[in-house]
């Protein structure tokens, strides 16, 4: 399978703080890559760096002509902004059919367009952002912390939605999460990140209790510290 993204020796420094240190990986077309790590581990920074928002050292090589859709973790002002869902989409495209199609893909009909963006539930809001990212037919979807547990019973979860989109649209997905079940159920490849990469590979092969406590916990650090003396 063709390589869609190649990252080599990536270092990201914001101000004087080194946020990501010495990260290398590859993503092939149609793969799902999850980035797992605690808060402040540099996950969001990694996504934004891949998007070209932050300066970096090292190499980020997207396949030529690749189109990227981005679903941010939250959009802070939207909740009290006087804007309808239709108007929000029209900031990105004038093509009404494309808007309708994108909304249908995430499970909304066209009546939904008239609603105010501030009126929707957080689950619906996340779907809207996914639909927004799908405008323009991206090859890759970058998704920052899909939230779980807010979907109403009977509806498909955000992960079932992504699974379906991946099949129907042949999407490559890079998503950031701290939810382990997502990593096991959904991803082909996982990067455990806490500033520097702690593990990389298939979820079942690389994730074990020791790696997790190294990624999240303090205990192992004390142990190592003790051991070194």
């Amino acid at each position: 399978m063709e390589t869609i993204l190649k990252v080599e020796n990536l270092n990201v420094k914001l101000g004087n703080e080194l946020i990501i240190y010495n990260l290398s990986f590859e993503v092939k077309r149609g793969e799902v890559l999850t980035v797992l790590g605690p808060n402040g581990a540099g996950k969001t920074v990694l996504l934004k760096t891949l998007l070209g928002v932050f300066p970096f050292e090292g190499k980020i090589e997207w396949k030529k002509g690749v189109k990227i859709g981005y679903v941010p973790q939250r959009v802070p002002f939207v909740k009290d902004f006087p804007i309808s869902i239709e108007e929000f989409f029209k900031l990105k495209t004038k093509n009404e059919n494309e808007i309708k199609e994108a909304l249908e893909l995430v499970g909304f009909d066209k009546d939904f367009l008239k609603k105010n963006l501030g009126e929707v539930s957080s689950g619906q809001y996340q779907r809207i952002l996914v639909a927004w990212a799908l405008i323009g037919n991206p090859d890759v979807l970058l998704f920052d912390e899909p939230t779980t547990g807010i979907d109403i019973a009977g509806e498909e979860t955000i992960y079932q939605l992504l699974e379906r989109l991946k099949k129907e649209k042949k999407l490559t997905i890079i998503l950031v999460t701290h939810d382990l079940s997502v990593v096991f159920k959904f991803s082909d490849y996982v990067i455990c990140l806490n500033k520097c990469p702690i593990c990389q590979g298939g979820a079942k092969e690389v994730i074990n209790p020791e790696i997790l406590s190294k990624l999240y916990g303090q205990e192992i650090k004390f142990y190592e510290h003790h051991h070194n003396h």
Partner: protein, 259 residues
């Protein structure tokens, strides 16, 4: 003085309507905290510009524009380069502006600098005001969708490969121009109200961008009209009356605010 005002009443009224309307339109883009934080102190920088123009007998709008334009660049640079909180930069710029104003001006000039003096606006001044307002209106119309997206989320805008700096610069330039025109009507101290009040009122009554985009300039026009007519009746300074009119519209908008 009163005869000058009466002969120029209609040109002044019309130019006030244009400035009020375009200021309201620009204000509708100021909803995000970051934009407000930059634009509000910027308008205070109009004061030293007006002061210097009065000292040298130049047009106050010209003085204000030069100070605003370089002030905009200064705030822009300070915001990007220093690690100072933006509030600190605001406090510094605001106090130095006031200090310069009070140091060099006579009492009457201070009043003009602070609350404006529409008797100084002649026919040609009105025409220039209208032309610049129209230019800003068309410029802002062109960049409105992208600026809206930037206001909603800089991340989404960056993901769309929108050149944030370019659009923010054009916005600051537009604000500088309108604020510089506004100081003639309402002075350097009240001018922030020209952009902030109509937008706040319109936001209370809007659920969609379409309505918001119409209501905000409409309230700007309305406040200018009411203010200038009140001035004609009462002979109180026009500037404070325009701002008070804007505030009354805001109060009414709260009553009708949509849940």
């Amino acid at each position: 003085m009163s005869t000058i005002i009466i002969t120029n009443f209609f040109p002044v009224l019309i130019s006030a309507v244009f400035v009020g309307g375009v200021a309201g339109y620009l204000g509708s883009l100021m909803l995000s905290k970051k934009m407000t934080i930059v634009v509000d102190p910027l308008s205070h920088l109009a004061l030293p510009g007006v002061a210097l123009a009065l000292i040298f007998g130049k047009d106050v709008s010209l003085g204000a524009f030069l100070f605003l334009f370089f002030g905009a660049i200064l705030i822009w640079v300070l915001e990007q380069k220093t690690k100072l909180p933006i509030e600190t930069i605001i406090a510094i710029l605001f106090s130095i502006s006031l200090a310069i104003t009070f140091l060099f001006l006579s009492e009457h000039e201070i009043e003009e600098a602070l609350v404006g003096d529409i008797s100084k606006i002649g026919k040609i001044g009105s025409l220039i005001t209208i032309l610049i307002s129209l230019f800003v209106l068309f410029l802002v119309r062109k960049i409105y969708p992208k600026l809206t997206l930037i206001s909603i989320s800089e991340d989404l805008a960056k993901a769309e490969k929108i050149d944030l700096k370019k659009y923010q610069f054009l916005y600051l330039l537009s604000i500088s121009a309108i604020v510089a025109l506004g100081v003639k009507f309402v002075g350097g101290l009240l001018v922030a109200g020209l952009t902030a009040l109509p937008a706040a009122s319109a936001k209370n009554l809007s659920k969609s961008l379409k309505v918001f985009k119409i209501l905000s300039p409409f309230f700007g026009v309305l406040a200018a009209l009411i203010g200038i007519f009140l001035f004609r009746i009462t002979n109180f300074p026009a500037g404070p009356l325009m701002i008070i009119s804007g505030f009354l519209i805001f109060l009414i908008s709260i009553i009708f605010k949509k849940g």
